[in-house]
Structure formats: C-alpha cells, structure tokens
Amino acid sequence: MFKNSMRSMRSMRLLQSLGALVALLLGGWSLPALAALHVFASVPEWGALAREVGGERVNVFVATTAMQDPHRIEAKPSLIARARGSQLVLATGADLEIGWLPLVLRESGNGAIQPGQPGYLEATSVLRLLEVPTRLDRADGDVHPGGNPHVQLDPRNILKVADALGERLIRLDPAGEAVYKARLADFTARWKAAMQRWEKEAAPLRGVGVWVQHRSFIYLDEWLGIRELGALEPKPGVEPGSAHLAGLLERQKASPGRMILRPAYASPKSSDWMGEKAGIPVVVLPFTVGGSPEAKDLFGLFDDSLRRLLAALK
C-alpha cells in the first residue's frame, strides 16, 4: 500500500495542478489495506456464488438487486467507485450488462478488471447459450447476439461457473488455493445433492405448459422439461400490447398453459391481466438471489422457485 501511494505521488507531482494537489491530500486517505480479495459481481447470483466459493477470503460487492431490471442499469457513480477498488469483476456477459458495465469499467481507471485481464470473468464464457439468434435485426426487439443471457436458473450452469470462478480466484489469490479448492469441493457436493433433490421434486413439472413474461426462464425450462408456450412480450424488451395479449388468450384456448411465469422485477400489469382472463395462476419467481424473502442464497433461490412452481400446479 505504501509503495502504491509512493508511485501515485510521483506521477501526481508531474501534474502540478490543482487537481493533483487535492489528489495528493487524498492519496493518504485511501481504504485500509484488506487481506480480502474484492469481487465486483454484476448481478446477485454471481455475488452469492462468489461468497460460496470465496468465503472469508473475498469481499463481495453486488452491483444490482433482484428488483432491478438487469437490462436497465445505469453507470452510477457508486458503481464506478466500487469497480475502482475491485480485483475481480464477475459478470454474466452475452451483452446482458452492455448498457452500463463497459462504461463503469473504463471510468473506474482500474486496469486489472478490463475485459481480457485475469480480473474480468464472464459466466457465459464457460456456458452453452440457448436461443442464439440466426439473424440480427433490432426490429426483433432487444435481442442478444450471443444468445439468451439469463443462464442462472439451470443449476448445471451454476456448477460450471463455480468451477471457472474457483480457478480464477486461485489465479488471482494463489495463497488461498487450499481454501478455494476446499470450499469449491464442498459447494459442488452440496449443490449436486441439492440438484438430485430438486430434480426429484420437480418431476411433476415435466411437460407442463407455461407462458412467460420475458424469455427469462428458458434455462430453467430446459432443465426441468417445462414446455414454454410463448412470451407475453411480443418481442424481447417490448411491452405487451392488448392485441398481442388477446392473441395469446386465443392460443391459450387451443393449447392451455398451466401458469404464467414472471420475474420479480417485471411489471405485474400484463401477466396479472392475462392470468385473470385465462384463469391460471401467475407465478412470481425470484429470478435471482434476493428476488423473494426465501431466496437468500443460491440454494434458497432454487428451493423457493420450485416451491412456487409446484404450488401453482395444485
């Protein structure tokens, strides 16, 4: 820390300007040196995963909450300040954070967390994405060229990201290798056991037809064999109109869905309307950690999601 502030003092002296003077004064007043590795997670699920794998050795900051639409985040000053002090940025990728994260990273002035550096990890870099568009046209709505980025609701994806995160933590903090390895092994074992339980519990959901608000649940559907009949949004990111919803009601008569799925952050208006007209329950899924009181961590996220889905079947 002392060496760092010496280096900053030297370069600052070159400036000989007002800003530099104040900078010098503030250089001594930086955060105390903490042993923990500072992890900046773009969304709550990766923050929760970093806590599972990193434990006490990491200090996790989560940039967004479950109540925020992950597509509409702003490059807030507080995020730039947090990115400045981070050693690892764990993001989803596949353009989910394109509206804010690239700017936050550039504005932070932190060279270690720029894309391409060891301090930057995208979850989707180790996953197989679904719904990769074969044509790119903004007339199709808010499409993600890399595929659907809402990967966190397939627990198999969580395992893969956990592995990649473990490797990356060891690379950035070699002294903690034993801790990370042990925590990762422990998490993997607990997660696999939970997955077996979830798959057993979720058996009644196989083949069940559902409507969705936004195409946020395709990984969950693929994992559990839930049949997605269609989305309330006519195009990704476009609010449903009444004509479109009326069309869906007609389709509901022909091939009835059992429920409507909506993430916690989405507006209840259209799904509630459709649920009432079609006489089927609207299931508000936490979507990520913190999306419901029960979804306190990754295990809670899946426990609560399944509980809500199964309750709607009854």
Partner: protein, 476 residues
Amino acid sequence: MKHLHLGALCAALAGVWPTFALGAPAEAADSSLKQLREQVRELRESYEQRIQALEKRLAEAEGRATQAQAVARQADVRVEAVAQSVARVETRPAAPVVGAKSGEGAFNPAISLILDSKFTRFQRDPSQYRIDGFIPSGGEVGPPKKGFSLGESELAISANVDHLFRADARFALAEDDGAGVVEVEEASIQTLALPEGLKLKAGRFLSGIGYLNQQHPHEWDFADAPLVYKAFLGPRLQNDGAQLRWVAPTPFFLEFGTEVASGESYPGAERGKNGAGLWTAFVHTGGDVGESGAWQAGLSHVHANPRERQFEDNGLTNAFSGRSQLWVADFVYKWAPQGNSRDTSFKLQGEYFQRREKGDLTHDLEGAALTSASRFRQSGGYLQAVYQFMPRWRVGVRGDWLNAGTVDLGSLSSAELPILGAYSPRRQSAMLDWSPSEFSRVRLQLSRDKSRADEADNQVWLQYIMSLGAHGAHKF
C-alpha cells in the same frame, strides 16, 4: 418373384396329380401302377422337400431384408442425431453471429449513426438570434431554421486500439447554407491500463467540466442546450489537448481531472503560439441515497487568456483581450423505485455558472479601434426536472436564467456595444417525449425564449432522434 415361381410349381403339380390318377387304365397291371404311384410319391416328396427348402431360404432372406431395413433406419436416426448435434455445436459459440467473423472485417470498430431531425415553429427569426447582455460566444448557439430541418447526423466510431488504448471518433454531418459540412466533434484516444486509477485522454474531446458538457446532443433531455452553455461555452467546451483524470480509492465516487488545451475557441481565441491557451480543473463526486436514489455533484474551473477574441455587434467587429475565468457547479439526482427505472423514474439536474473576465475591450477593431479596460462578472444557470410517468413516456420542465451582473466597460458604453446593455435573459421550456425503445425517441418541446431584450419567442419543437448500429452505454 420367388413367390410366383413357387405358386406356379404347386399349381402344375396339383394339375399333374389327378391327370395321372384319372388317365391310368383300370385294367393296367397292379405292379406298374404301384410303381408309377411310388414314383409320383417320390417325386412329390422330393418337390415338397425342395419347396420347403426354398420357403426356408425365402423366410431367411426376408428376415435379413427386414433386419437390413432396421439397420438402415437406425443408421438414419444416427445420422440425424449427428446432424442435430453438429447443428447444435455450430450454433453454440458465445457470439456466433458477431464473434464468428474472421478475416479483414473481424476487427471492425463499433459504428453508430445518430439521426436527428426537427420540425420547428418560431415567432422570431432564428438567424437573428442573440443573447443580449453577453459577449457573443460565436458558436452554433441559435435555434435551427424554421420549419423542417435536418439536424446534425452523428457518426461515431470506437474500438480498443490495443491493450493500452481505446479510441473514439465522432463526426457531425450537417448542412451549412446548402453545403454539406463534416465537423470533427471528437477524435480522441484514452488509456486503458494506467495504474492507480489514472486515465489519460488526448486529441479532440468534450471537456469533463460541468455535467451536460460531456453529453452529446442526442443524450440531452431537451431539444436545445441550456442558455448558460450557449452564452458561456458556445455551446460547449470542446478541447484540442490532453486530459488527466484520477479516481480516488474511496468507498464513494470521487474523481479529479485536469485538462490543458489549445484554447482556440470560445472562451479562448486563436493564438498561433506554443503551449496551451486554456486549462481546466474539475472534481466530481457522487453516491447512492438508499437503493432508489443516486446523485453526482461537481465543481469545475476553466481558465483562458484570449487575445483579440473577436465578436460582431451592430455590424462592427470588436475584440476582447484579457483573462477569462469560469466556475461551474453542477449536480444531478436520479430516483427510481428500488432502482428500477422501467416504469417510473425521476431526474433533477441543475448547473450554476459564474464567469469573470478582465481585460481590454476594443470597439470597432477595423475602424476607430477605441480600447478601454473592462471587467465582467456574470452568472447564470438552469434547473430541470424530468419525470417518467409510465414506461416509455417522460415529461420535463426546464428553467434557464442569465444574470448580466456587473459589466464595467470603462470609457466605452453600451451605446457603442448595444449587445452589452444590461439585460438578463430568461427561458422556460416544457417537453414530452416517447421512446418506444432505447434506440428511438420522439419529442415535443414548447419554449418561451427571452434571450433577446424585450422580445419573447414562443417556440414549438418536434424532434426525433434515432440511433443505428452499435450503441454504447451512456454516462450517468
């Protein structure tokens, strides 16, 4: 074919047998008859054996054929599965459409084009626009022409140059008196990997002072710039120079910056000298208020020493030489329920400018050239609020004011410089905009502009802004 052969054979045998039986004379010898019967029996047995053998072979052949068919079907299924998994593998890469490119085009930079067009209705002639009480800033500060007008189309290109640098270029394509002009709005590089939170930018760039100065016109919440920007920065500070910024390692946002620039445009003037003609310093800080609110505030300073900064007034050319100092205080507060701006959001934004200029003012540079000591202490500001009342729809109001403040013209008077007569311009605006997606916006704006002394201009603006291609993140 084998079936037919066997059938014919059986029929022939069946026909032969009774013929033999009926055709034999009754009185023929018993032995010869017996012999004949024996022969026929043997014949029949041997044929039956052969038929059975043939049938057996046929059945075997048929079995093999169905087996072959089944194998063929299985092979088909396998081929299909392989094709499917190949297709899946082919569609698998993280960014197959964009990222799978190779060759010369693979590293094309991000390109975006912004189209902006206006339809306006003004009471006063926009070509006679001036801000009374203030030395004209000389930039493009007036409203567009009446009726339909094509605003500036912005072409922006950006990419990482390598692991150390990123470059941004932005060109404004506009029309000036019927001739197409291309202006270089920005052409700058910035560092990506300086240590300790330092960032260096060089080239032509929008200065980091204030809040609105760094925003491009398509990001504005109103169709035109605030009066203070028009009067003091004409209408924004664009530097040819270098900028150094430093983000402090504090838990809240704190950033310091300084710039040195040629200072050849307002508030500076053409110099033809070595070194820098303008410098700035600024600090910005910000943070969150709970999970719903976020704020940013800043203080900036611009210092320039213009020599013979010319301006036109009453048909004569005048000039100012001296020292120009500008202070800007800015703040912005944004609110959205639980930080989710999908349905409703609110934004309050304001800036206050104060400028002091001291030096020699020359009246009628090319004629009488009367010079006098002069001193100005002028200020102004704007305050605006924008409320998103439902998804895609926003309303906003803005108040603009300028204070003529202290104008000491020494031995000159406002009889010689009518534009510097004591006058404090005001303007009020209201707007409604609709953004069907984040790439398009249509806006209606009403303004009452009293930039000109005793001449109110009631304005109606209808504007669209469309964004094509790559569209990077906007600043807070």
